[in-house]
């Protein structure tokens, strides 16, 4: 398109340089993060509201395995944020090979999180008989809020792993720029941050000590 434009007569305005060099991709991702953060906060607000208005809210998470598992998950997810930072850093220095390695490490962290989380879900469903529609504690709301919040977060992690996979493949073939990796990192840190809210509000506050 721009080649056609160059061929045209110079306009009366003459071109100049834009005073605004905001990177639109980064800005777009920030806007998405804002809006997605609001979706999560809406769910967290619903969870808080329902929890406060229910007098006998259950605290079913035993120290082992639930709290141990979720702590390990938290650690894994936090570490994957660190590897993502390394990935962005190496990409800024033009080291594509190292970047692919760091992104793969991040993806591994994400996958480990998902696997551990599913394991934890199955533990709750099979051993504690907590499902989305009911539980032995007779507070049916518990399952709905728990599985919706963690499920939506897990969906975000899975989408993030796929997103990072695409970025890694592209970086490996020399396709993407440093800012693309940075933007994907932005998303990944956001997903991580959301977990930092869910972990204490959903897990730690419902721990059975």
């Amino acid at each position: 398109m721009s080649s056609q434009a160059n061929a045209a007569v110079t306009s009366l305005w003459e071109g100049g340089r834009s005073p605004y060099a905001v990177n639109s991709k980064k800005f777009g991702m920030w806007l998405f993060v804002v809006s997605d953060a609001l979706t999560f906060s809406a769910l967290l607000m619903a969870y808080t509201y329902l929890r406060v208005s229910t007098p006998n809210w259950p605290t079913p998470f035993h120290f082992s395995p639930s709290i141990v598992f979720s702590s390990i998950m938290t650690f894994v997810l936090l570490s994957s944020s660190l590897t993502m930072v390394m990935g962005v850093h190496t990409m800024n220095h033009g080291n594509r090979k190292a970047t692919v390695g760091w992104i793969l490490a991040t993806m591994a962290g994400g996958l480990a999180f998902v696997v551990l989380h599913l394991r934890e879900w199955l533990n709750l469903i099979n051993n504690e008989h907590i499902t989305i529609f009911g539980n032995p504690m007779d507070v049916p709301l518990f399952g709905g809020t728990f599985f919706t919040l963690t499920g939506l977060h897990m969906t975000h992690v899975i989408c993030g792993v796929i997103y990072l996979g695409i970025i890694a493949a592209g970086v490996g073939r020399g396709k993407f720029k440093a800012e693309d990796v940075e933007v994907s990192g932005l998303y990944w840190h956001f997903v991580d941050l959301v977990w930092m809210f869910i972990f204490p509000l959903v897990y730690l506050m419902s721990a059975r000590i």
Partner: protein, 557 residues
């Protein structure tokens, strides 16, 4: 499919085989084509929503009428509301924003052209999904039906118990899909405005349309999320047996109301602010004066945007909040009247001292000023909570928000159609037909919605499929229905005018209105790359500077 039909209407002059043309339109990422797709898609749904409105009005023409069954009536008002808000008004607004924002800020395209296309098709399929419910809504339970839970779908009416079958699921999924589409478009518009402006166009030199659409995009980004979350929870309730809104299991019906209206009220401004944007572009050009008080207009817009996030519970005055809660929402709601009033005064001051040319776009904008004034004043009445305890849920409210959405928003959208039609199609519309459309529609509008306030004051609730005689409502309902017929005929005139002018209208040239913003500096219709070379601007009215080099705007701004 709507797009396919659309394509035939729009691209006639090109010689390419139909399949190629179709392929080009379906795969396009050009903001102008996507804008036109949005607009044509919206017109299609405007027609659907209009037909539903006509069915509603025929049923209510006299007491104890039996034109449709109560079930059908309830589906009609649900579909009318959902269609008009999500699949007619929003796509219209997005379509114009898509088409105009890059042109007016001197950009070659939006920031994310492919996200743009993706968002459009999400919205488009959302609408198709909603209308598929007519066929598939009842699933295994019998013949098809459409959702009948009302457009704000209060819990627990939406639970499996009270809404068996799949009609409500279609409603949820359609809104989820189109909501994600709206989010994409909003992100795109906001990023475009901030990142893609041409050299020289500082924030203070942007056309008001860009400012207002930027605010609109911000509102969409902030307000869509609670709705998305609420729809997710409802979906979990209906499909996975969750209990968020299940009052039998400790869930809360009021929670849904809060979430819906946290979205629902900013949504009014998502539609109204772009309408203000059209008025802010059209009124100055036809008054031959710059907009009065540009910085104040921007400030008022941002104020409206912020305050609109804190007024949602004025839809819930009858829900039983504490007196302190009610008073707070009276305060915030009345506060929003101030910046809105400032806007009306500024438009008035723009006309003051001008040389007003009453072409069709200007006629629609002047009518908008009168009608929006009334809509604002009835809004103040409804903001007084005790008055609202009487009027809420009555036909007075229906009249009020139709005054806003039709008298305010749709009128400026009609104005925008006539104003930018020459730019989009390259041809002039028929001025005589345009004026026929204006007078017919205005007459119909006032017949319908002026008189609709009265049965509300006389105690007629909304959403009733029939009513008792002897309540003093009969004559008003008859008049209201007659007005609808005027509006229907006027809309046909409008559509006919568009088609006729596209095919046989006079060639418009690049600048038929002697306009001042950048879109008038390029050809009509603009080439794919918009501008041969990127313009550089020094004031809010770059074309004024060009046409009046002896007295350019930047001396005064």
């Amino acid at each position: 499919m709507s797009a396919a039909r659309a394509t035939v209407a729009v691209v006639r002059s090109e010689r390419a085989p139909l399949v190629d043309t179709l392929h080009e339109w379906v795969t396009t990422v050009d903001h102008k084509r996507l804008g036109i797709l949005y607009i044509i898609y919206a017109l299609l749904f405007l027609a659907f929503g209009g037909i539903e409105a006509i069915i509603i009005r025929i049923q209510l023409i006299r007491p104890h009428n039996t034109f449709v069954s109560p079930q059908v009536f309830n589906r009609m008002f649900t579909m009318h509301g959902t269609t008009m808000i999500f699949f007619a008004a929003m796509p219209l607004v997005f379509g114009f924003a898509n088409y105009l924002v890059p042109l007016m800020i001197g950009a070659r395209d939006t920031a994310f052209p492919r996200l743009n296309a993706f968002s459009f098709w999400l919205t488009a399929f959302g609408g198709l999904l909603l209308y598929f419910s007519f066929l598939g809504g009842n699933g295994l339970y019998g013949a098809g039906n459409a959702p009948d839970v009302g457009w704000f779908a209060y819990a627990p009416l939406t639970s499996r118990t009270f809404s068996p079958g799949h009609s409500t699921d279609f409603w949820i999924l359609a809104l989820l899909l189109s909501g994600i589409g709206s989010m994409g478009t909003a992100i795109n518009i906001a990023a475009t405005v901030l990142c893609m402006r041409c050299p020289g166009m500082t924030l203070g030199k942007m056309p008001l349309l860009a400012w207002l659409n930027f605010t609109m995009a911000g509102l969409v980004i902030l307000s869509m999320s609670p709705l998305t979350a609420a729809q997710l929870m409802l979906l979990v309730d209906r499909y996975l047996g969750g209990h968020f809104f299940d009052v039998q299991a400790g869930g809360s019906a009021v929670l849904w109301m809060h979430f819906f209206w946290i979205f629902g009220h900013p949504e009014v401004y998502v539609l109204a602010i772009p309408a203000f944007a059209f008025a802010s572009e059209i009124i100055p050009v036809f008054s031959r004066k710059p907009i009065f008080g540009y910085p104040v207009m921007v400030a008022a817009t941002l104020a409206i945007g912020f305050i609109s996030m804190s007024v949602w519970a004025h839809h819930m005055f009858t829900v039983g909040m504490t007196s302190a809660g009610n008073t707070f929402f009276v305060l915030s709601t009345m506060a929003i009247a101030v910046p809105t009033g400032i806007k009306i005064f500024n438009w008035l001051a723009t006309i003051w001292g001008g040389k007003v040319q009453y072409r069709t776009p200007m006629l629609f904008c002047v009518a908008f000023l009168f009608q929006f004034l009334i809509a604002g004043l009835t809004g103040i009445m409804l903001a007084a909570a005790p008055f609202d305890w009487q009027l809420s849920g009555s036909y007075f409210v229906v009249a009020h928000f139709h005054y806003v959405i039709v008298g305010g928003i749709l009128f400026t959208i009609f104005g925008a159609f006539y104003y930018w039609f020459p730019k989009m199609s390259g041809r002039m519309y028929n001025e005589a037909l345009g004026k026929v459309h204006f007078w017919l529609f205005t007459a119909g509008f006032h017949l319908t919605f002026d008189f609709m306030h009265v049965p509300g004051v006389l105690g007629m609730p909304r959403r009733i499929y029939t009513y008792e005689p002897g309540r003093g409502w009969d004559i008003w309902n008859l008049v209201i229905t007659i007005g609808v017929l005027f509006q229907a005929v006027a809309t046909l005139v409008f559509l006919g005018n568009l088609l006729w002018s596209k095919l046989w209208g006079k060639v418009a040239g690049s600048d038929p209105w002697d306009g001042w913003t950048l879109e008038w500096s390029t050809a009509s219709p603009p080439p794919a790359y918009n501008f041969p070379s990127l313009p550089e601007v020094r004031s809010r009215r770059p074309l004024w500077d060009l046409k009046h080099p002896e007295d350019p705007d930047w001396h005064y701004e």
